[in-house]
């Protein structure tokens, strides 16, 4: 494409997004994860990092704000950082304590369904996962309500082992230790 007048860039323009906070890296400074963002940028786009985190840029950024505004911005970003850190810690703790349960449930004699619980704690959209299970294992798979509240995925057939493997393979955020296969005791008799 030939270049046009003043806006010389050819479209679509390619924009890099931060691997940590997902914004264009020039906006990382306004989020709560600046430190991590900076590390990421340094590792993945050193040229951009040099430009964005140079002494010159930082001074220039500050010079456009009044002293009072600087102080407010500083306080604001500290608050944000603290908030982001505690949210991250909480999420991590939640992930560490969460379990994905894959349960073999006997429906009729020799007929089984497999119930999968707990994926949402790892940030997964269980409706989508249910669909993926259905496709992957060519069987019925749907999201159903659990009597005690919450939802689980019900897959037709005895697929505990396959699902276990698939979950561990596909969702790297879920530690293998947090995935467990169990056998549901007979419903009758009150478990």
């Amino acid at each position: 494409m030939t270049e046009v007048a003043s806006s010389a860039e050819g479209f679509p323009k390619k924009v890099t997004y931060c691997g940590v906070c997902s914004l264009p890296p020039e906006y990382c400074e306004f989020g709560g994860t600046v430190k991590k963002c900076e590390e990421w940028l340094k590792q993945h786009h050193p040229d951009m990092h040099e430009k964005l985190y140079s002494q010159e840029t930082i001074e220039q950024n500050l010079s456009t704000l009044s002293l009072e505004a600087q102080k407010r911005a500083e306080k604001d970003s500290q608050k944000k950082a603290a908030k982001a850190a505690s949210a991250e810690a909480k999420a991590q703790e939640q992930r560490a304590n969460s379990k994905v349960l894959i349960k073999r449930v006997e429906r009729n004699k020799r007929k089984y369904v497999t119930a999968v619980q707990g994926l949402e704690a790892f940030g997964l959209d269980i409706k989508k996962v249910a669909k993926d299970f259905g496709k992957k294992f060519a069987t019925g798979s749907s999201v159903t309500k659990v009597p005690g509240g919450g939802e689980e995925i019900t897959v037709q057939g005895d697929l505990s082992d396959d699902i276990y493997e698939y979950v561990v393979e596909t969702y790297k955020d879920i530690p293998e230790d947090n995935v467990e296969c169990i056998e549901d005791k007979k419903k009758k008799g009150g478990g």
Partner: protein, 190 residues
């Protein structure tokens, strides 16, 4: 508009007749996209519609969000689309001080645009004419760029015309919009 994280609702295929209608509407609202429309929404490819809470729909091509819409209102571009075709939309610029407010979802106020670091159409400081010569009216969809930044940080509907902003220099500039880091930005459409 999208302050909270959003969970997506049903995804459905857009009928080809409706798809033609959307394409026409996009071109009517954003004529400067004309040279790129075929690469943005190729005629032969299937657009999907994803429902969001509060009667908002997003049109997507695969997992790429393109435009969103509240009920039957105007189609607003998703910021990732704006980033790819920045000069195809009317745009204004806020000063650096206003960025953090916009990114936290606060209503953008006029002083953020009329101050030294801000840019409105016909701005004497705007030597390359990046922000145009035509004043923009209330109700228009406008992209917001920021002082010292290359990429836009918000898109929304003007609440006050730019000519009036220059006169009164205060008040709310925008209705709630879509900004970097909001629920629409973070939407997982994979």
């Amino acid at each position: 508009m999208f302050k909270k994280d959003i969970t997506t609702g049903a995804k459905s295929k857009v009928k080809s007749s409706a798809q033609r209608g959307i394409r026409a509407k996009v071109l009517e609202e954003y004529p400067r996209l004309e040279p790129y429309i075929e690469e943005i929404m190729p005629k032969k490819e299937q657009l999907d519609l994803v429902k969001l809470p509060d009667r908002v729909s997003v049109y997507t091509l695969g997992s790429t969000p393109l435009f969103f819409q509240h009920m039957d209102d105007e189609l607003l571009p998703h910021l990732s689309l704006v980033h790819r075709y920045p000069s195809c939309f009317p745009r204004l610029r806020i000063d650096r001080g206003a960025i953090r407010f916009v990114l936290s979802g606060a209503t953008l106020m006029v002083p953020g645009l009329t101050s030294l670091g801000g840019r409105l159409p016909n701005d004497p400081e705007d030597e390359e004419g990046r922000y145009g010569e035509e004043e923009l009216d209330a109700g228009e969809v406008v992209v917001i760029e920021a002082e010292g930044k290359e990429n836009a940080c918000m898109v929304g509907v003007l609440k006050m015309g730019t000519a009036e902003m220059k006169k009164v220099k205060k008040g709310q500039a925008f209705e709630a919009g879509h900004y970097l880091g909001d629920g629409l930005w973070g939407l997982n459409l994979g």
